[in-house]
Amino acid sequence: MKRPITPRTYLICILLYGAPFLAVLCITPFIGGETIHLSEIIHALKEGGWNASAEIFFFQRIPRVILAALVGGTLAVVGASFQVILHNPLAEPYTLGITGGASIGAAVAILFPWLMASWWVFNTVQIFALAGSFCVLWIIYFISRRPEGVTIFTLLLAGVTVSIMSAGAIMFLRYLASPYLLLQMDRWMMGGLDVIGYRELAALFPLLLPGLGILFSCMVELNHLTMGEELASGHGVDVAGVQKRVFIGGGLATAAVVSMSGPIGFVGLIVPHTVRQLSGYDHRIVLPASFFLGGAFLVACDTVARTIFSPTELPVGIITALVGGPLFIRILLNKN
């Protein structure tokens, strides 16, 4: 009699996703527009003689790869969780309108440069984007709150409505903006992963870590929710509690990521589905596997984005959509 999943098979499965992820992380910093020489990096490490290769490698490439891995991984994990609690295969981290809120915040910060509000590790645009995200989270939570938990249907509709309203608000802000600021805004809206050094990277963690922690603590319960709230509740799952935790955890993680990199679409939608096609519907596997695959995918896309038209960079969202789309369709066709 075979058990559905044992700790051993589980570990093997996670390693199968983790190993390629680590491989991508190790290889991609060496790829880019500027050629860097391994010998120079080793020299810099050994003798302490700083040089251009080491500078690019340690302060541009590595932080950027780490950021892409975290952003891609997080978006995929949040997407996987939201698809379950919202009972909607089209759900992704941005479905609840968090990006809309973040974009308004960022647009306001860019439009009024005198609003200097950097604090601790966060810069002004980030703080406004975070504030926007939290406003949206609070609004949709307030709308869909019920004594027995949140109503999923209302949550979904509220999220979509808030997104549409945000789009309107952003158009208004764009109308006010001068061409130079407009360009800056557009760049933010397209999403990007340019980061220099580690201080900016640190701004990700205060919200990201608790957010992801909460989501990963719900893996078993997410499996139950795939069978519907009532059966899950009958099986002994605190459904309202889990919904709330996923909502808050996913909200925190998405807000952290979006305030940093702007909206990067598609990863949160296709990566979880790809994982489910490859290794089934057990969310104890789907969540970590989505993190690894999403991270690796975004790192790879970003490597292409910053290399293909070097020395200029393409917004990474263009690559995720143009490369990810056909790949995903290929996987769907395979299944049939």
Partner: protein
């Protein structure tokens, strides 16, 4: 049978009142308790409050007024996991979007007994296997949910609820979408289960099936229990006529001494 070593637990309801926030309709059940080792049918027209009663009794829907006890314990003071260890609830419908394997679905029933990681040990696995056997679904173990027929699917879901090792089973229209043969098959399984000591309440629409398989029938109308007794008590011409409306004919099953009911048939020409 996995439930043999448990002390008998009954479900008792008193002074229950429930109202949905957006309607005047209300449910009022003053005193009701489930009989041990029997199948109790809960019947009544659509909107009579059967499913609401079952959901409240299972603790899936929060209760406002009244008390529900499982054995000596107040349902309100129990957490979900400890409720799930004594009470199994099968809802009317479950979504299909995620195409799990049968074995995984049945394993989910062990949730209330497991540690946080959710991995099953050898003993859990034996229980899962036993439950699949009890519902004649062992051969379906490695199939996917989307590849099952309606009857197979219901048996698998029943097995997943049985894996909780409950003393009480509450089933909401488990056979409404099944053909005659599979309905009978499902009730044969339930009959075997109650012989093992389970108490079962089934919300159902098929009155004749209720009469054949259940010792006790609870008839509901407009949120009230209007009759609670043996099939012979409930199958009264005036009573059924009044509750369901439309003219009916009462008769006896040709093989056993149980009442059956048919709609009166008159050709219109």
């Amino acid at each position: 049978m996995a439930t043999n070593n448990k002390p008998p637990q009954t479900l008792s309801i008193s002074g229950l009142r429930y109202q949905y926030p957006d309607s005047k309709w209300n449910l009022a059940v003053d005193d009701f308790s489930l009989s041990e080792g029997e199948i109790t049918a809960i019947i009544g027209p659509n909107g009579s409050g059967k499913s609401t009663l079952l959901r409240l009794a299972a603790g899936v829907q929060p209760l406002s007024t009244g008390t529900i006890h499982i054995g000596q314990n107040d349902l309100k003071k129990m957490d979900r996991r400890s409720i799930a260890r004594v009470l199994g609830y099968l809802p009317q419908s479950t979504p299909y979007e995620f195409d799990h394997r049968v074995i995984n679905v049945v394993s989910m029933g062990r949730y209330a007994h497991l540690s946080l990681s959710g991995f099953l040990c050898e003993e859990d696995m034996n229980i899962v296997k036993q439950c699949l056997e009890q519902t004649d679904a062992l051969s379906l173990m490695n199939r996917r949910l989307s590849h099952l027929s309606g009857g197979e699917r219901q048996r698998v879901l029943l097995a997943s609820v049985l894996a909780q090792e409950p003393a009480i089973l509450l089933l909401d229209e488990p056979t409404s979408a099944l053909d005659l043969h599979h309905q009978v098959n499902f009730f044969d399984i339930l009959t075997r289960l109650v012989k093992g000591g389970l108490s079962v309440a089934v919300v159902m629409h098929d009155l004749n099936l209720a009469s054949l398989y259940c010792e006790r029938i609870v008839l509901m109308n407009h949120g009230r229990i209007v009759c609670d007794g043996t099939p012979d008590d409930v199958f009264q011409y005036d009573l059924l006529q009044d509750v369901y409306g439309g003219d009916i004919v009462l008769s006896k099953h040709p093989q056993v001494n149980r009442p059956v009911v048919f709609p009166r048939f008159e050709r219109e020409n």
